[in-house]
């Protein structure tokens, strides 16, 4: 996106239907941050592969949105900026998994039914807010300091994305209140499962 986003412009682009969207709970679970990433790999590599899965789903969503006829071109581009950032996250995470001499996880197959603008933004809200909670859930489990710094730098950006989408939907920008809550692997995958084929 080259033009700056404004809420006014953004709201104008997406129309009133988005604001009237039925509320979906972005963070429906207050589960603890227990890490069960062993199926994604050992140690930090497993954590990164789990987070990579989250990023792949997010990126696939924005790619699908970009191909849709929903929203104006400008709005699709604005939302696509988030997709580009997910792509940058993926690049870094893949590089770090490889540095750990592990195999980056394959892209999951995804499915998105983008029928309405409001419904599409609700999916974005779920993916971004669950994504932020997924990062928060894994931060305490990371052993390597350089990797912790990387994951921290992505974590707050996911929070920014989640807040921005929620702002469009007139939902709370901090859905958990003043303290963000983590989600464990099971709850993250459960929330993303409707979008994974």
């Amino acid at each position: 996106m080259t033009a700056a986003i404004s809420r006014r412009n953004f709201m104008g682009m997406v129309g009133g239907s988005a604001a009237a969207a039925a509320a979906l709970s972005a963070c429906g679970s207050n589960s603890d941050a227990a890490s069960e990433t062993s199926e994604y790999g050992d140690g930090d590599a497993g954590i990164l592969n789990f987070l990579l899965t989250v990023e792949y789903v997010q990126e696939a969503f924005y790619a699908e949105l970009g191909k849709s006829k929903l929203f104006t071109v400008a709005a699709r581009e604005a939302l696509g900026k988030f997709g580009e950032e997910e792509g940058e996250h993926i690049g870094k995470l893949v590089g770090q998994v490889e540095k750990l001499e592990a195999e980056p996880i394959a892209k999951p197959k995804t499915k998105f039914e983008l029928k309405t603008e409001a419904g599409t933004l609700e999916i974005a809200s779920t993916l971004e807010n669950v994504g932020a909670a997924a990062y928060l859930g894994q931060l305490p489990n990371i052993e390597s300091d350089p990797l912790l710094k990387l994951v921290l730098s992505i974590h707050s950006v996911e929070g920014r994305h989640g807040a921005s989408i929620n702002d469009l939907l007139k939902k709370p920008v901090t859905p958990d209140g003043p303290f963000a809550k983590p989600k464990n692997v099971r709850d993250v995958i459960k929330a993303m499962k409707p979008y994974m084929a």
């Binding site: 986003i5 404004s6 974590h155 929070g159 901090t174």
Partner: protein
Amino acid sequence: MDEGNHLSPPALAGVQLTERDHLSRGDVLLKGVLATAGLYGLGAIAPFVRRALADSSSDIERLNFLLSFEYMQQTLYTRGQSEKNDKNEKMPLKPEEKKLIDFLVTQEGEHVAAMEKMVKELGGKPESRWNQLAFSFRIYETLLQLAGEVETASVGAFNGGIPTIESKEARELAFSIVQVDGRHAATVLIPQHQEPAPEAFDLGTDETSAISNTEQFTGAFAE
């Protein structure tokens, strides 16, 4: 906000200062206040030498450093909430603007309270690295601009500082807060027609850089 922080009347024309009572270690020059004063064509201001750059050798010091950024945010929003600008003139807020500022004051207050509690649990005394805070704004739009700078600086300070914290509980608290500060940053950038996530990575800043990034508000110069 702790009792040590209060809003002062305009100590100088064009610059409203918020004095704080307690300081940490490491001498700094409050050159930001001087710079702000210069911007508004003010006369001589006594140079302050304060302590902002501490030797963060303990979790207490590290948390107090991050707590200082929460004090900064809380102070800025409390100033906005007063609906007076830096000349103590009325700056009425529209209902939507007031709602946003009230929301931010409340959440930053929760952060301050939780971090103060954590510092105490670790056996320390909550304190700010800033001796005083100065925010120059005439209108709401400028207040929002400062908010964007303060929130972004805070996210950088947290992302840079968290890896140095040893206490598991303190780390987890900081993890939780930095996500919310990132959300706040996006929330104040959107009405300014700014990208809510201008970069793909919120890189951490070290203490020296974090102090430099906010010296126009704190006057604290990292020597």
